[in-house]
Subunit: 139 residues, 2 copies
Amino acid sequence: MDHEALKTGEVAARAGVNIQTLRYYERRGLLEEPSRRPSGYREYPAEAVRIVRFIKRAQELGFTLREIQELLRLRESEKASCAQVRSAAQAKIDDIDHKLASLKAMRRALGVLVASCRSDGSVRQCPILEAIDEKEARS
Amino acid sequence: MDHEALKTGEVAARAGVNIQTLRYYERRGLLEEPSRRPSGYREYPAEAVRIVRFIKRAQELGFTLREIQELLRLRESEKASCAQVRSAAQAKIDDIDHKLASLKAMRRALGVLVASCRSDGSVRQCPILEAIDEKEARS
DNA sequence: CTTGACTCGGTACGTAGGTACAGGCTGCAC
DNA sequence: GTGCAGCCTGTACCTACGTACCGAGTCAAG
């Protein structure tokens, strides 16, 4: 089993991240502190690569490192239930739905503004700037 | 015209921002450096309140401070054309569309995961964790 | 045994947008 | 004329996620 020990650079290369990132994850508590050689060199188990990849994929799904830390905790725990994971995923969905709604509102508002601005004049009559500027005069 | 001079706290209150925020905007170059009393107190024109409100509304539309700085520059400039403003707005729309697409992809993926996880078992068989974990085994 | 690549810890920097102190003046109402 | 609210500068801190650099020690191939 000892032949599976990986050095920092090897883990980084296999997981496709920077070495500093590994140390950062370790500081954050996402990556367990690995054992060390007498020289201080870290010796990672092969599992570490899987964990880093897990982190990266969870990030792509929108989870923050804090949330991923919790997912990893659940993953390790024997007692954790699948329902807890599902609830974390659902919370993230709700989160994303909020962001989507907010972005869509922005998009809509900007679309209206751009559509209102068909003139080629100076900024003096720019409907877009006026709209941002004088919104309070409208109510 | 002198009776319109506002102190920092007054501008902040009328624009609904923190005093530090005004100084931050000044450092960033969004807010022109106001004149000073002999004591060093800032004396803002009433216009400053309008500018800060402009900034806040532009932020709500998704513009960054850097972009807003450019919008303010256009607003001040006599030579600037409405088309430049429109193009900034369109660029921001494209920006938002990218973010929307990315968020929707996340949302879809998470939706599939949550739907796949109907079990109430332990995390050992959690389809969500497995999906994040073993994605590379699928290809 | 040398040499070049690798690793170590610690710290600083980067983005984006602020917020919070500390310590010291100023302005004004009573 | 005094007391306290308000303002001044400068600096540090916050979230989130890393990156970069430094000087020093280590590993392994030739």
